[in-house]
Subunit: 451 residues, 2 copies
Amino acid sequence: MIKPEHVHVIGGGLVGALTSIFLAKRGFEVSLFERRGDMRKLAVEAGRSINLAVTARGLKALDEVGLKRDVLDLAITMKGRMVHDMAGNTTFVSYGQKENEVIYSVSRGELNKLLLTKAGEYSNVHLRFDQRCVEHDLESNQISFTDEVSKQTHNVQAKVALATDGAWSVARQAMLANVKNFNYAQNFESYGYKELVIPAAAGGAFQLEKEALHIWPRQSFMLIALPNLDGSFTCTLFLAYEGAVSFAALKTATDVNAFFAREFAGALALMPTLAEDFFRNPTGALTTIRCAPWHVDDKLLLLGDAAHAIVPFFGQGMNCGFEDCSTLGVLLDAESDWRSLFQKLEAERKPNADAIGTLALENFVEMRDTVADAKFQLKKRIGFELEKRYPDRFIPRYSMVVFHAEIPYADAYQRGIEQEVILDALAAGIADISKIDWSHAERLMQHARPF
Amino acid sequence: MIKPEHVHVIGGGLVGALTSIFLAKRGFEVSLFERRGDMRKLAVEAGRSINLAVTARGLKALDEVGLKRDVLDLAITMKGRMVHDMAGNTTFVSYGQKENEVIYSVSRGELNKLLLTKAGEYSNVHLRFDQRCVEHDLESNQISFTDEVSKQTHNVQAKVALATDGAWSVARQAMLANVKNFNYAQNFESYGYKELVIPAAAGGAFQLEKEALHIWPRQSFMLIALPNLDGSFTCTLFLAYEGAVSFAALKTATDVNAFFAREFAGALALMPTLAEDFFRNPTGALTTIRCAPWHVDDKLLLLGDAAHAIVPFFGQGMNCGFEDCSTLGVLLDAESDWRSLFQKLEAERKPNADAIGTLALENFVEMRDTVADAKFQLKKRIGFELEKRYPDRFIPRYSMVVFHAEIPYADAYQRGIEQEVILDALAAGIADISKIDWSHAERLMQHARPF
């Protein structure tokens, strides 16, 4: 067990707030520095927050600090994807086949507010808002913050610093500049995203099926919509920056409305403020960041997006970050010094963060493209059937990632590759699951590794 | 054709010097800034320079500016690899099978000196030495240099800047910090390298076969030696940083001598200053750097290692950089504006730079490991035989990369993958080339794409 002492946490987003709670429960003195103002006092603007899907890994970590119930109270159950085709027809594709195999839509803002509120209830957690981290001296572990209100810069001396300041972490940038042989990669997709909204109907009613993630897959681009508690849906358009069909090609309200009328007619009818939202909201970038090492001696550790930013297509960015917190909790109890904790956390988490980073990129292709494909839906059904018949040897990849916190991401990735061979073999040449050659399946499954 | 004007070249290494010559021949006014002093006036210290292998792509670019002959005059022909096993036996493995399929060992220092001398002979080339680039303002294209003698910093206003300042390019670092959605990766290997030397015998005689690249492959590490004009060999030890057999484990002269006695006994006998060299020379790092874009508007272009640093195991770093110069020459004649030149150069060169970066990493495994393997040597012979029988459809991968400048690296990479399947099939279950089933080969080769 690491003896409780003073720890500086940089960044009060989702992972920083939860990290502070994991530390506080064990008696550590936590100073948490957050760039933004105190969001506990502010209303989260409805329909203007990116929605997240909380799944098994995130819930496991929240449960470990007694917050699972509080988070689920903020969430809306999503049982599957509602796929909207060009003609306006919908097909529901279930995420899992068991009762509890669902995911939970939650507002990023509301969740962050909850976690900071819970962190602030510990007397050993000191929340400092409006503190922009501007420099991290890796040698001395002195951290400089600019107070966003007074505009004064002050230095803080840390013994142990945990950087949870996201994809553009100041600490990681200092590591890139100063750590010898630092491995680093940042990769941007050629498409970006735009937040839009489908408001609630009069009286707060949902205008689309409430308990689903709605998706309008259109091969090279897509629109998705996640439900909010107030009856609205937060929509996200994923689209290339440049080209014939792209953000660059949508220059006027007329362009945007014509594009939606052509591609997402059903959604357009529910989006009265489309063009206004489109031109007011920024076009966001999608980035994958990988680096190594994640730590400097026994002084500094990167966690969450600071160590491993991923694209959002598996809905696992926050879940992966919360899993970091869970591992931190285990190692705080098991290890006796920080250096060894940092090394073991990185050894355990890095292969899993790399795997979910790759899976998330691959899932964009599934979401925008194959999810609308008959073969994809057939393979999905075959996968569920194999899971029923061989529960000890087959769990669909999506289910491993999303419902099975006990299977590390890296294992899910590897097994997913092996399983894809089986699914392709069984789906070859047939159009319907009733035509499957189950003796062939039996032979293939004999070689599958038991879990 | 781009109208000749003033161009700033940052970095006077091999690629910067050759870039300046390509520009000067076309009438451009070139200001070349180099961090180091004027090496034209200094003797290159024998046995202390990293050796390079000049091959077809490099020679093609040199030929385009009339310097092929001058460079070959500095070079020693290497006809193949001389593999030294643990018992001290040697096996010669030819690089090619045609008379002219050889590579050329040349001293980096001598080659750089030659290229700067030739560049300096153009009245429209202005060489500025002792100028350390410290900042590149991408907005204004103003570049700051610190004079290494006076320690004064001054600014230079460029219209068009070509950054050839190597793997740690200041311009590229400015792009990483300032260019939106800049893709970037730096990856360090877990092993480093150390320069060592086998001096000439009394009277300047070579102590090993002169016309070969010597290699002592030992699975996880290796020693190589390239001939110098003065009869010495420049040796390089590639070894893991950490672990049981590693740089970290070699702490004393006794450790180093014992390690060499055990692993490289034949070489040790020729290395009187081994321990001294080992502890005086730094341990170098091996890095692969990839980025995109390579240019900023019509203002700045990265070339050579600044755009695409690779590991040295295919001996193609300089050759790839010189190929950049060759493409630059073609586009200077074909294009009418810089923006379009920069875009086309990047579109043509980036896939090839990526491919040789990957090939170079893979070749370490070949050099340290499979080169000593009977199956490797059998497949090498089968490849040569296929090239003889099917010259329009099979060229061994090594030959495509090293002897065939007309085959882009990216094509060589892709064809190499396809050819490996054929070689594996033909080599399976046999130990000698006389046992090959040539009717099987005929069937396989029917599917091979003609060049």
